[in-house]
């Protein structure tokens, strides 16, 4: 079988699996979001008995959804960029230098991930309150999120820095490139996938983080998880939760496609020369 045949067969296979993997849950979410309050959808019925856009309209008009969208979608990118900036130097050190204690340093970078969430939620927020950061709630959440999700950023970027090829750096230097030109030519191409992965991951983590954003932000700043947890909490209202998560998915998908494109553009430069 030729390579092309094999490839297209693989594509068909993966697309089928991915569709089952995704289509079932997403179709179910869409159906759930259309359940009319007049009659509940029980598991023995294939489709909801009464369908309408009532939940969508109600959610859009009567909840804090609009404010939540604005604050979540301005918090998350800011936290992602700040996280990226904070992680860069550490990842550079971990990825490019071989020093004693490097493995330990890598392990310690994971700390924010291993601290139990309720401890982080209560004591980290209390710490931020004590440092006086609460006067600017937006800034405090951005700061907290970028620290909290630094492990992802550092780990991913470290891998990228390791992928930068020494001969490219050397070549650039030998050709007399300035530090900035050297960075652009030798580092940036290898870093691009890592940068977009970092931005995406921190963005998604920040969009999903509930405890700290709530403790510091409430009652002035409402984020989407706050609404989601209200819908999914004690009175787990399944249709409302479905509406919320679908509303969340749409902008995220666009974002991911954009990032995916940015990521690809890095490739040709990498396979330098031979194309």
């Amino acid at each position: 079988m030729s390579y092309a045949r094999l490839n297209s067969l693989l594509i068909v296979m993966i697309v089928t699996v991915a569709l089952i993997w995704l289509a079932i849950p997403f179709t179910m979410a869409i159906l759930w979001s259309l359940v009319d309050p007049a009659e509940p959808w029980t598991a023995d019925k294939l489709l909801p008995p009464v369908m309408s856009f009532y939940r969508w309209v109600d959610m859009w008009e009567n909840s804090s959804l609009k404010y939540a969208l604005i604050s979540s979608y301005s918090l998350a990118p800011t936290a992602a960029i700040l996280g990226l900036c904070l992680a860069m130097p550490t990842a550079f050190a971990l990825g490019r230098f071989n020093f004693a204690g490097r493995e330990l340093a890598k392990l310690l970078c994971l700390l924010p991930l291993v601290v139990p969430p309720f401890i982080t939620a209560i004591f980290f927020s209390a710490l931020l309150f004590q440092l006086g950061l609460n006067t600017w709630r937006f800034g405090a959440i951005v700061f907290a999120h970028s620290i909290l999700f630094l492990p992802y950023a550092i780990r991913i970027l470290t891998v990228s820095f390791e992928n930068v090829r020494q001969d490219h750096i050397d070549a650039a230097r030998d050709l007399g490139a300035s530090p900035w030109a050297r960075f652009r030519v030798a580092y940036l191409p290898a870093l691009k996938p890592g940068i977009s992965a970092t931005l995406l991951i921190v963005f998604i983590q920040s969009i999903e983080e509930f405890a700290i954003a709530f403790i510091i932000g409430s009652p002035d700043i409402v984020t989407i998880p706050t609404l989601l947890y209200s819908a999914l909490g004690q009175d787990f209202v399944r249709p409302n939760a479905a509406v919320l998560s679908l509303i969340l998915v749409v902008p995220n998908v666009f974002l991911m496609l954009i990032l995916e494109r940015l990521m690809r553009s890095a490739n040709p430069a990498l396979s330098s020369g031979k194309g």
Binding site: F214, S218, S230, G233
Partner: protein
Amino acid sequence: MFKKLFTTAAALGAFMTPLHAGDLSTMSWDEIVAQAKEEGNLTWYVWYLQDDFRRAISSFEDEYGISVKIPDGDNAGNSQKMLAEKDRETGDIDVFAWGYDSFETVELKSLFNSLDKLPKDDGRVSKLAGVDGGDHVLAFWGNQSGIAYDPAKVSEADLPQSIDDFATFWTDHPNKFGFNYEKGGSGPSFYQNVLRNVAGVDFSNGEVSDARIAAVQPGFDFFNKHAANYIITASNVDNINRVSDKELWMAPAWEDHLAGLQNRGEVRKEIKFYIPEMGMNGGGNGVAIPKNAPHPAAAMVFVNWLTSPETQTMFNRDFGTAPMNAAADDSAALVPNEQRAFRQSWGKQPFRSKVEEAFIDNVILER
């Protein structure tokens, strides 16, 4: 920065002296109301039904001209916020609602303002679910656990009432009954009352001793004997969903929770609810005013309104709660009044926690 960090880290554990406590204690009620109107607004952290409460409080806003903000948030989030900001000079929370037995997990007088300046009203409830809220907590929401059932499968006459009835039901209809042992109190209310009936445990005594825990063993044996015939579910809401989805015929539930889910078109309206004669627990939610409340007077006036007979009558009518003021009218309840006689109180701590742990070790982990 280091020094500041470590001093603040050290200070986090210590309780700060209250700042607002002195202000209101010298005022008369009329002066408090006047100051409340001057404050003009307040924030009420309540962890459930926020949309409905936003509608319900409009009569308070009209009466006093004080606007009430009800932020979204769940139980864990609200309690974490309250604890995280307890050392701030001025917090964000004016009135804090919590499950009544949750108040027992903290030290009331160091966290909350005293409510003794409220106008005298003996009808209010501060002792509920085996917890004494003293001067600091008042109940505003009474609820009752019981059994949700599908009338298409079990007729009213066949409803199990005693523990023997339940054992018979399990044997006759294997795996049609399920209960949760955590994530919500309806299941725990069920198994604790079974334990009480089988082993004759006195839950009103909070003392812990090895002998008292050992005495519960016959109750555990009862559950283990029938283990193959009942289901362990994941949570309060899982119970109700599985009855609604026609998988289970009966499962423990909260009266107000079931009513709320039915009103929202989340589960079938046909599902009914009863309190078995063997007894199940009643409980509720209370409110308190944090020491660092930004609008302490408005908070006080709001608590007064919330616990008044008129408001409690309205809650009974609109939400099916048990009124938390003796002078309120409870004619609109979802359960016939004679069943209320089977209401039991939650067990006293720390005994109840020890029984819960022992139940998990001896019944749940043995499955």
